[in-house]
């Protein structure tokens, strides 16, 4: 789960990480008031759940109230990578001596929370990692001890040089780690972390993502969720025990299992078609799940044909067939459907489907070819 920058800043403050003052605004007049109240140079920042806001013109510096108003007029309502800007953050634009990067992630290889820090902050850290990986300090945190004082201090010293400043940095690293672990985060970045002319260390921008599997024990984080339209569909699918991602193609896919669902999309593409979605109906095969899945698939008006690909392991193909027959009793559609059943009880399933006139095949590649053919009719 992703949250906005303004929400990350709220969490930073809660954990004692210093962040400049800011106000969240939905309208130009709110921005005008916020700029007047802050009464100094501000930065107006689009709040959208996507990276690259600065490059897209979604972040503007304003020297006075008039500047802030004109920035707000430009930014509010603009489109950034398909996301409409509905709110902006008006934040105190502090003076900056130098920009740094600090981030925490879960490292798959060492199976630890790993701290990354760099004196090349502000820019895209992925680019730094690619071009000059030696400029990134990486530290794998022992989960039994957490990030210890001397470890945080050592990393901060490498970054800031001066011990007095490093102590401020180390304090931020430790607080960020505490926030990360306590909220089941999967990313916590401060970019940039800045040094001011007064030798203060501040978090100017923040990004946090959270572990979907842990949301059940993070009610405060869950309450911050602001899903967009696509995500609402995905969350609705999740609540029904399905996993759905909408794509741009025209061949709807319904598959049991995530790996097989991805392989199905790949095969459609390999044979010259375009998958309309990723849809994993999971292990169970209750008729209701098949009905829900069909409803979600057919909501996408780009869909011209549907490929159902089931490999029965624990899922029994005859159960899926029964679900499909029930689904087609309640859903009326003229979108052609091709069904592939294989594995446990496939013969029984295919026999049941004879009453529906649906084309059935026994291999995945035949099904993909047929679905592509049907999408072009």
């Amino acid at each position: 789960m992703k949250i906005h920058e303004y929400q990350a800043r709220q969490l930073f403050r809660k954990y004692g990480i210093p962040v400049p003052e800011d106000v969240l605004c939905y309208t130009v007049s709110e921005v005008e008031k916020a700029a007047r109240d802050l009464n100094r140079m501000v930065v107006v920042k689009a709040q959208v759940l996507v990276g690259g806001r600065g490059k897209a013109g979604g972040v503007k510096l304003a020297r006075n109230v008039d500047d802030a108003v004109s920035a707000a007029k430009q930014i509010l309502g603009m489109d950034i990578k398909g996301f409409k800007v509905e709110k902006v953050l008006v934040a105190d634009a502090v003076d900056i001596t130098k920009e740094y990067y600090v981030g925490l992630i879960n490292d798959r290889n060492t199976k630890t929370v790993t701290l990354m820090a760099s004196s090349e902050g502000g820019v895209e850290i992925e680019e730094v990692a690619r071009v000059s990986p030696e400029k990134i300090i990486k530290f794998h945190i022992n989960p039994l001890t957490g990030l210890l004082d001397y470890q945080a201090r050592d990393i901060a010293l490498q970054l800031f040089g001066d011990i007095k400043i490093a102590q401020k940095g180390a304090d931020i690293f430790k607080k960020l780690y505490k926030l990360y672990v306590e909220t089941d985060a999967t990313i916590a970045e401060i970019n940039p972390l800045v040094l001011t002319p007064d030798n203060e260390v501040l978090a100017i921008d923040g990004k946090m993502n959270f572990d979907d599997n842990a949301l059940y024990r993070q009610p405060e984080i869950l309450a911050m969720r602001e899903p967009d339209e696509d995500e609402l569909v995905e969350i609705d699918a999740n609540n029904k025990g399905l996993s759905y991602i909408r794509l741009d193609g025209n061949i709807g896919c319904m598959v049991n299992g995530a790996g097989l669902a991805m392989a199905t999309m790949d095969m459609i593409k390999l044979y010259g078609g375009e998958p309309a979605n990723f849809l994993d109906i999971g292990g169970s095969s209750s008729p209701q799940k098949v009905i829900d899945a069909m409803n979600i698939l057919l909501k996408d008006k780009n869909v011209k044909s549907v490929m159902i690909n089931i490999f029965g392991g624990i899922t029994r193909c005859d159960d899926v067939a029964k679900g499909l027959i029930k689904a087609l009793e309640v859903i009326t559609t003229d979108i052609p459907i091709v069904v592939r059943l294989s594995g446990t009880n496939a013969a029984e399933g295919l026999e049941l489907l004879k009453q529906t006139n649906l084309p059935t095949v026994s291999s995945m590649s035949e099904a993909a070819k047929k679905a592509i053919e049907l999408s072009r009719m």
Partner: protein, 290 residues
């Protein structure tokens, strides 16, 4: 021979009285797995399907000599179940439970290391040595004894490919589903090493997917350390960045973890990558002719 599980495996089932636990216990027993005990706190004394149930894993181990455990308990309690098995002296833990918080797995890891416990999963379909032991939720009927080692990050895609192998007369030594989570137990390299050392295995099939860089590391390991041929397949070539494809680990983030990068790494290591599942037995046949 085989790897990790065989006729000598003595299995204890954690969560044996739950719906999934009960169902799959029956399936595993039917397949011929030596299921010696079940664990369900508060149900000690019960005998299910001829299997004695204990309150704790330690008691089950003491009474039956169990050396392997399988976990079916709900995600919120699964990390605790893994630790309980490890502390009780279980050598191999297979965690089927899905939806475990990542921080739970990070906290579990150092304890497993300290106790020398091996883990497969979580969120995995399990492991099978055909005709000897099935430990998981895999459909036993599609597997066949033979000489191919098999490692996969996915469940049903495993069944799809194994079925193709069996149909083409490529039986398997051992098949391992390592699971779709970003932080998991035994992974590609740990298993490739075991297959390389297993005299009966003559070739290995690796099924990877988008997310992480374990496939790239596996490719490097194969190039440097393996003498046996390997065929690979990568799922998720059409997956868009930033979208999690069902598995918690299957996500392309910051432009890395793409299928294209993984395929390139395998090709560089001299490992042929199938364009579609059908091609896997074809590539295997070509490699084994040489």
């Amino acid at each position: 021979m085989s790897i990790l599980v065989n006729k000598n495996t003595k299995l204890v089932i954690q969560g044996i009285t739950g719906r999934d636990g009960k169902f799959h216990t029956g399936k595993m027993k039917e397949y011929g797995t030596n299921v010696v005990a079940g664990v369900s706190p508060g149900k000690e004394g019960l005998v299910l399907d001829g299997i004695p149930v204990f309150n704790t894993v330690a008691a089950a181990v003491k009474a039956t000599g169990a050396n392997t455990s399988i976990i079916f308990v709900p995600a919120a309690f699964a990390a605790d179940a893994i630790l309980e098995a490890s502390e009780a002296g279980i050598e191999l833990v297979v965690a089927i439970s899905e939806g475990l918080p990542i921080q739970d797995m990070i906290r579990v890891t150092p304890f497993l290391k300290q106790n020398g416990t091996l883990l497969i999963g979580p969120n995995c379909p399990g492991i099978i040595t055909p005709d000897e032991a099935l430990i998981g939720i895999l459909p036993g009927n599609i597997f066949k004894k033979g000489n191919i080692g098999f490692i996969s990050r996915s469940g049903t895609l495993t069944y799809e490919v194994v079925n193709l192998l069996t149909e083409n007369d490529f039986g398997q030594t051992t098949c391992v589903g390592i699971g779709g989570d970003p932080i998991a137990g035994l992974y590609f390299i740990d298993l490739l090493e075991r297959f390389e050392n297993d005299p009966e295995t003559i070739a290995v099939v690796v099924i990877g997917e988008i997310g992480g860089d374990a496939e790239e590391q596996a490719a490097q390991f194969i190039a440097e350390k393996m003498t046996k041929p390997v065929v690979a397949f990568i799922a998720g070539q059409t997956a868009p960045p930033g979208k999690r494809m069902g598995h918690a680990g299957a996500i392309i983030s910051s432009g890395s973890g793409t299928a294209a990068e993984k395929i390139a790494a395998f090709n560089k290591a001299g490992v042929p990558v199938a364009k579609e599942p059908n091609e896997i037995p074809v590539l295997l046949r070509e490699l084994l002719k040489k």
